[in-house]
């Protein structure tokens, strides 16, 4: 494992987005992972439609909540093509699902994997290197007040309640940490990112980890 790695350095991660007052973190994390998975394969780094996942993923609850795993299952089973965000823009509220003709261009996923990596965060780092950013769910109650630095206290691996994307890790300092991309805009945390201590399953970050294949 390198001491430091970040998919942002490969220019395959889009800017941080803002879910506003819509509980759609589960959709933002999955769509961001798909955007980066495409870019890693050399395809354009486009913004894909989060609103399409919010409106159409029938096994979730739109802006009232959902799970990345359910969204990935829905995408995998239906082979729905995600259209570009400009085609189906985010409006921070639930809407009626819009359907597109088969000829519509878009991105569908090939498969996904999800594992519990608790106690195996080095294996998790290898998965990040091998497959791309990791969709994770964390207990983010204490993130309400987060300003910066490495989260290592007051973040129990209690009930997971927020979905985010791990884009890298940094083990060069005294406290190794995951680099975590949030969806609360760039004014939150470290330009929209948080640093979470690696090891010890802080915030429950290793409990449910998904990767997507396109």
């Amino acid at each position: 494992l390198p001491l430091r790695f970040d998919w942002r350095d490969k220019h395959v991660v889009n800017q941080v987005r803002n879910q506003r007052m819509c509980g759609g973190c589960w959709a933002f994390s999955v769509v961001s992972a798909i955007e980066t998975a495409c870019a890693i394969q050399g395809k354009p780094l486009n913004y894909l439609s989060v609103q399409q996942v919010i409106d159409c993923s029938f096994n979730n609850y739109g802006c009232s909540g959902g799970s990345p795993l359910s969204a990935l299952s829905w995408l995998n089973e239906t082979q729905v093509k995600l259209v570009e965000d400009s085609e189906y823009p985010f409006k921070a509220e639930n809407g009626l699902c819009r359907y597109f003709p088969q000829s519509q261009s878009g991105v569908s996923i090939k498969d996904f994997s999800a594992y519990d990596f608790s106690g195996q965060e080095d294996e998790m780092a290898k998965a990040l290197l091998n497959f791309g950013p990791l969709v994770v769910i964390v207990d983010a109650v204490s993130w309400q007040d987060y300003l910066g630095g490495v989260i290592q206290h007051h973040c129990s691996s209690g009930e997971a309640n927020h979905a985010v994307l791990i884009t890298g890790f940094d083990k060069t300092g005294n406290t190794p940490y995951w680099i975590v991309r949030n969806s609360w805009g760039t004014s939150w945390g470290i330009e929209g990112y948080a640093h979470v201590k690696m090891g010890g399953n802080v915030c429950g970050i290793a409990d449910s980890v998904s990767v997507v294949f396109v």
């Binding site: 498969d111 994997s113 987060y146 927020h162 449910s208």
Partner: protein
Amino acid sequence: TWPRSHQREAAALRESLNRHRYLNSFSHENSTACYGLNQFSYLSPEEFKAMYLGSKPTWSPRYPAAGQTPIPNVS
């Protein structure tokens, strides 16, 4: 008297300031996180959770330790 929403926000802000003092009381390591006023400070924890923490916990199979054959993908 202030409109109720201002009262509520003022109460939430006071609660946030108290919480920051507690959360920062552990910051003896220089790299550890720091907590303070931001765009969510006027929300109570309950309001913040209801609006911004919309993910449901999901079970995932344990990643097979090195050397074991991975179990088939969840999907």
